[in-house]
């Protein structure tokens, strides 16, 4: 039995996950919590939010995010990858800046129009 705090929404439900019992989850207030509890112990994932360089815009940085959660162990590799991206204004919110990064189906998208 493991204790896990769900991060899917600000409620932060305290979950218990039984890894010996098909990763059954208790303590969740919604189905997303059950999903989270199951995954967190087996393949933890995180949405990464960060910035990349941008030229031709009012400021030097463009906020970006992964459009879906990335395997947690690839977090710092993702940051390295972002270091190498320089966007060029104009950029629209949601625009894909890098697709299928690090052998995943995760894309880096702009979170602001600049």
């Amino acid at each position: 039995m493991k204790n896990v705090i769900c991060i899917t929404c600000p409620k932060g439900c305290h979950l218990t996950v039984d890894e010996d019992n098909g990763y059954a989850v208790a303590g969740n207030s919604c189905p997303r919590g059950a999903e989270y509890g199951k995954n967190e112990l087996q393949h933890p994932v995180r949405v990464i939010t960060s910035t990349v360089r941008i030229t031709g815009a009012a400021g030097p940085r463009l906020p970006v995010k992964t459009d879906r959660p990335l395997p947690k162990e690839k977090m710092f590799q993702c940051m390295e990858l972002l270091n190498g991206i320089t966007a060029q204004a104009p950029v629209h919110v949601g625009q894909v800046l890098a697709a299928n990064i690090l052998d995943t189906d995760v894309n880096i998208v702009a979170s602001k129009s600049m």
Partner: protein, 418 residues
Amino acid sequence: MKYDLVIIGGGPAGLSAANAAWEDGCRSICIVERDRELGGILNQCIHNGFGLHYFKEELTGPEYAGRFIEKLKGTGVDVRLDAMVLDITADKQVHIVSTAGGYEVLEAKAVVLAMGCRERTRGAIAIPGTRPAGIFTAGAAQRYLNIEGYMVGRRVVILGSGDIGLIMARRMTLEGAKVLACVEVMPYSGGLTRNIVQCLNDFDIPLYLSHTITDIQGKDRVERVVVSEVGPDRRPIPGTEMTFDCDTVLLSVGLIPENELSRSAGVEMDARTNGPKVFENMETSIPGVFACGNVLHVHDLVDFVTAEAARAGKAAAACCAGGRKAPERVIEVKNGNLVGYTVPQRIRADTDFKAVDVFFRVRAICGASRIVVTDSTGTQIAAFKRERMAPGEMENIKLPRVLLEKAQGDLTVSVEED
């Protein structure tokens, strides 16, 4: 220059108020914003967690602001960027200055105060030690990192476990710094639990509860800090000192509503919130002057700011349209057991509303409990069950008109633990 409505601040509160006022028919609106773009503090909040209530989506700060900025583009609301409000008079003259427009006086029928808040500083909590470079409030550091593109340090100790401190712990770590500790003076964290997980636990950053920084050392730049445990009186316990070699201290020790302009206009203030006292429609003690967002009381969720500001915008539009009668009955709303404050602080009983949303914060962590609303005779008007409440999570209850009509005298909102 004349406007029906002048809105001070183009952050989430100002944007929502403007959109709501326009939607309700006000056609002469001006937002005055000191930064070079709209969006306020959301521009630097590049993390997600915004909009779960309002949009049922998890957005980053800029995305959330972007939705309202886009909506605003479809209106005829005037926006003055890079413009600072110098003064607001009691008769709603707004004095502004900008390089583009020079010194201008905007005459308004209604004003919405949406100036947000500032961060509490080292001086306000009197941390002893030297005064080297490398000490930042978390928000100032966030601006450098996310907007200007600069790192503020390599080895960091963060004081304060509110959301801003936690978010910066993760942000600094992802950008290559080493965050040595998050230090919190209270016995519990002020931030969302999910942030403890994804900002501290994910990176093995220790959280020291009931601790504080008792000395900052370093000649030109921070070199180390001393952290001590504190007792129930929040004073350091001798003999518990730990030393951290670091070059940066981030302070996340509280937000203070920025009400200098409100005070100079003569708006009645609430010492508990450090913001104006308002009626249920967000109107302050000066008729036609409304307040919403962090300038009114510090929020945790921007979704609540949006809703509150929409109320203010609607009320401001109604005010401009005219035809308001003076209220006959005002109900004061008081804070009772375990409740720190309420917004609104007063309700005009005979105006046209279906229900009043009352927002408040508890003074301590509460387990299973009931929020109880009583009138001046002690009669219980309403009660609401809660599993858990914390000072770091603003609460709200809805009081339907029919219940308010039954109440005698003033109301008290209190919490009774089971």
